[in-house]
Symmetry: C2
Subunit: 270 residues, 2 copies
Amino acid sequence: MPELDHGVPSEAPPPVPPPLTDVEAVPRRSTAEEARTLLAATNVATLATLSDDGGPWGSMVTYAALPDGSPVLCVSQLAEHGRNLARDARASLVVVDPAPVADPLAAGRVTLAGAVIRPAGEEHAAARAAYLAAVDSGRYYIDYTDFSLYVLRVERVRWVGGYGRMSSTDGADYAAAQADPIGGARGAVDHLNADHADALLAMARSLGGYPDATSARCTAADRYGLDLVVETERGTAPARVGFAEPVADPASLRGATVELTRRARASPAP
Amino acid sequence: MPELDHGVPSEAPPPVPPPLTDVEAVPRRSTAEEARTLLAATNVATLATLSDDGGPWGSMVTYAALPDGSPVLCVSQLAEHGRNLARDARASLVVVDPAPVADPLAAGRVTLAGAVIRPAGEEHAAARAAYLAAVDSGRYYIDYTDFSLYVLRVERVRWVGGYGRMSSTDGADYAAAQADPIGGARGAVDHLNADHADALLAMARSLGGYPDATSARCTAADRYGLDLVVETERGTAPARVGFAEPVADPASLRGATVELTRRARASPAP
């Protein structure tokens, strides 16, 4: 947990056994890529605005995203959050990974903070089209006179990927990044665990640094590689194995995983 | 939508056919009961706090609830929301019904706004026990020196039950209410729809005001009754039918539904 400096724990998780062989560094999504990927994964978020007394007000909203990742909101001036935004443009938006997890604090989430603007001209047209495409029911209320479109100009991004994975970035970095084209890839992850336990074990042993692995499970896939959880007689450890090149689209994920498996099996056992 | 006054819509949903017979008023959960029921349905929420520049900051948190419904948080002073609460006690907490819905804006959600306190003495012990019982992973971090327990003293409650169902109440009303003992009862609702379509149709026809119903589906159950969606040749309409008395616990829901079915079948067709 590089950014944390906890005091003395009462009941700490068990220690993690280190890898036994050198492991090639495998790239990960950047903070901005993580944020963009979360924004692309759902259309529901929680908005924080300022009430008339200056207090913080949270509310559920649906959203869309413009091509640069700026969130688009469509809120009623009759609702508290709509009145709040009309009074003070400062806002933050929290998006939580919609994939189910056993421990909610292990879920990815991101806070985008900045200020909203009322889009005009081409940006209004783009925001309207994006909102209607992202939110099915939007067509029923988007033209009510009390509803307004807002675009959140993101100034500050705080991402938490679960325990001990967290970082921050700024709005320019966020806008320049892309969502991971394979998203959360839950189907692929489930398929690997259900039908290719032997391939995952080979990856963990020859590429992941755990030649003493007795089993391996995939916990996540991204365009750069796979996250594994490896069982050894020394305990349980995370490992990461990388694709030969970043996956460009969902259809290419299978080929990249097959290549990774071939490479794992071809590597000499250390 | 009693609290709304929309302007002219572009594409409005189809009109709802009115009931054809007088319908007994069936009680509903109060706003405070809805809020308490939502709080009891999950342990994940979004917290809104104030950043050092006074802007609104949203973040995902886990929570427990004290017997009076006051949310208990356990946050690190190393995290932005922890630093925010240490600086300014004002906060609001958003809880969204975790039951899956096709349209996110149809989901129940509640905002609880107020100010946090650091509990002391017996309240600290109760808050600690409640948090450890509600959040499995809490035992790993609750005693880190950078983590603090907070209790949110609820001053203001805003509940939205979906389209056109929304209301507000205060902290005293919220504290005095109880969570619905049958919660969301999704299993019971699914069972009624899968195996008792005939019973639901009888309820809609004889008690729900739609003698011309051709089918009926249960959309929600609560301690006071069932919400139905009724198909007629005049269109689709909501209906509500009430139990003989409020259901006191989950085990009593089946008997209450059987009694309701018997009453529906015994009522003379209008």
